[in-house]
Amino acid sequence: MCEIIEIPVFKSTEEENILLFKGQNFINDRTYDGFRFLEYALNEIQSIYFYLIEPFNEQNNNNIWDRVIPKAPFCIYLYDFDDILIKKFYQDYSHYETPLFLAVKKEDELNEEILSQFEDKIIYFNKNDDNYFKLFFKEILNELTISS
């Protein structure tokens, strides 16, 4: 039996903003209209499916959001210093109950407004840490299982 969780990941257009995912061993990496699909296998039976979505791409209207977000255990927004974009995104996202986590590079400093808006949903990652990718998701899962 396989276990799969599907995580929508929102990012802006620039490729460098997917730093969190760079250098990881994805067993599937395909690009479709409107999103990129990545499969990360934890072991033989457990996989995480990531859907990298550009939030304001014309192909990604709210119908797609409605289909993927409610079924996900959580969503991720890859922070890229574009505070106007994140505000606009958050305005749209606030209609969903699904928890949203903000992925931030450890050395990046966030402004007060973003800090207060996301509070405990900001997860920092340090590319220099071994296993930073797993640690990042471990922290999120810890947070979610604690709040259950």
Partner: protein, 381 residues
């Protein structure tokens, strides 16, 4: 009034004890040196001695000298950065307890209430297999803290009226909890609200099965957040102590079972405080429902209820023709009016409205997340 002698190398510690417990029946005296303390103990004869210093070496010196002085006055140590070995070492010197600083005022108050005021419990007795007490003196959070400090393997049985729950500890770490088929973490959170009732601690030789993965500290934090959130919601309901009524003509058959059971209690008048006090599940969920009922005028204050009741009775007294005309030409249905809120805090209403309109999360499989977490833990260490 109990005399407490404070030996602290900084006057600040003494001042903090003094200000924290100004309302308690304690009289504090202070000295900064151990030799001075030993002399004064003969004169003052305090009921307890508090030793407070950030320096562990100084603490160990004080404890040794105090022990050699053979005063046999119970003492409690307050210090920082303790390892389990340090704690054990101080206990072995006869300390009643070792408290690590900084500590939250409420937590300290409860611990001291337990150690200093509650004389029914005999701390010098080595046979600590069982003891019991009142939840008014010590709530769940205090119990977790104390059992953790004493590293007990035990079961705590809690009772509030007809409600009963249990919490299990392995060597001071909370591992499982049971209450009304709730999940173990929520069970602890719910029971942390119990301030009336009894607890009974029973030491155990068997190790309990671990079903709670959170550390004690995280769980305590969760409980405190839960208590704060519930209190905050409760405080915003300005009519919480008044009698409220369900709107006349409400069809109880058409509403969901959870709402029906709770709304029926308001049929002949009931207060929110009473409902929450007697509610057996998660109080926050109940309060969120109450906010919605108030907003939609499903629950009404007495005067509004009387007014609407009169309108309904008038309508029933009308002739059939009048009723029909009233329906066609008359005023629109009251329920379709903009709701008049009974809550004065608009932000809470807005918050509730936003929450109601949110698209629900359909993913509910927490167990699956737990499986992934375990795999990540195994592979990232």
């Amino acid at each position: 009034m109990k005399d407490i002698f404070v030996l602290a190398d900084q006057e600040d510690y003494f001042n903090q004890f003094f200000s924290y417990f100004s309302t308690q029946p304690f009289h504090f005296s202070w000295a900064s040196r151990i030799d001075e303390t030993i002399k004064l103990l003969n004169i003052e004869k305090p009921a307890f001695i508090f030793l407070a210093t950030a320096n562990l070496e100084i603490m160990m010196d004080w404890v040794t000298i105090l022990k050699n002085s053979e005063h046999n006055i119970p003492f409690i140590c307050f210090t920082m950065r303790l390892t389990p070995e340090d704690r054990k070492m101080i206990w072995e010197q006869g300390a009643l307890n070792v408290i690590q600083l900084p500590i939250h005022k409420q937590e300290l108050e409860k611990i001291l209430n337990f150690l200093v005021i509650n004389e029914n419990l005999d701390h010098t007795n080595d046979n600590k297999n069982e003891f019991e007490g009142s939840l008014e003196e010590m709530n769940v959070v205090d119990l977790i803290q104390i059992i953790q400090d004493e590293k007990r393997t035990c079961k705590v049985m809690l009772e509030k009226g007809s409600r009963k729950g249990e919490i299990e500890f392995n060597k001071g770490n909370i591992v499982n909890s049971r209450y009304n088929n709730e999940n173990p973490v929520l069970a602890v959170k719910i029971m942390s609200h119990w301030h009336k009732g009894r607890f009974h601690i029973q030491n155990s030789n068997k190790v309990f099965i671990k079903r709670i993965k959170l550390s004690n500290q995280k769980l305590i934090l969760e409980c405190l957040n839960h208590i704060n959130k519930q209190n905050e919601l409760m405080n915003r309901l300005t009519h919480r102590d008044d009698l409220l009524f369900t709107k006349p003509g409400l069809s109880f058959e058409d509403i969901a079972p959870f709402e029906r059971v709770n709304l029926l209690k308001f049929k002949n008048g009931y207060s929110i405080t009473e409902l929450v006090d007697n509610y057996e599940g998660d109080g926050i969920v109940l309060l969120q429902h109450i906010v919605r009922w108030l907003r939609s005028n499903t629950l009404l204050m007495n005067d509004e209820y009387e007014k609407r009741l009169k309108d309904v009775q008038d309508l029933e007294g009308m002739s059939g023709f009048k009723k029909m005309m009233n329906k066609i030409m008359g005023t629109p249905d009251e329920d379709s009016d903009e709701p008049k809120s009974n809550i004065e805090t608009l932000s809470l209403e807005e918050e509730a409205l936003l929450n109601i309109n949110k698209k629900n999360q359909l993913f509910k499989n927490k167990e699956l997340l737990g499986n992934f977490l375990s795999s990540l833990e195994d592979s990232s260490v």
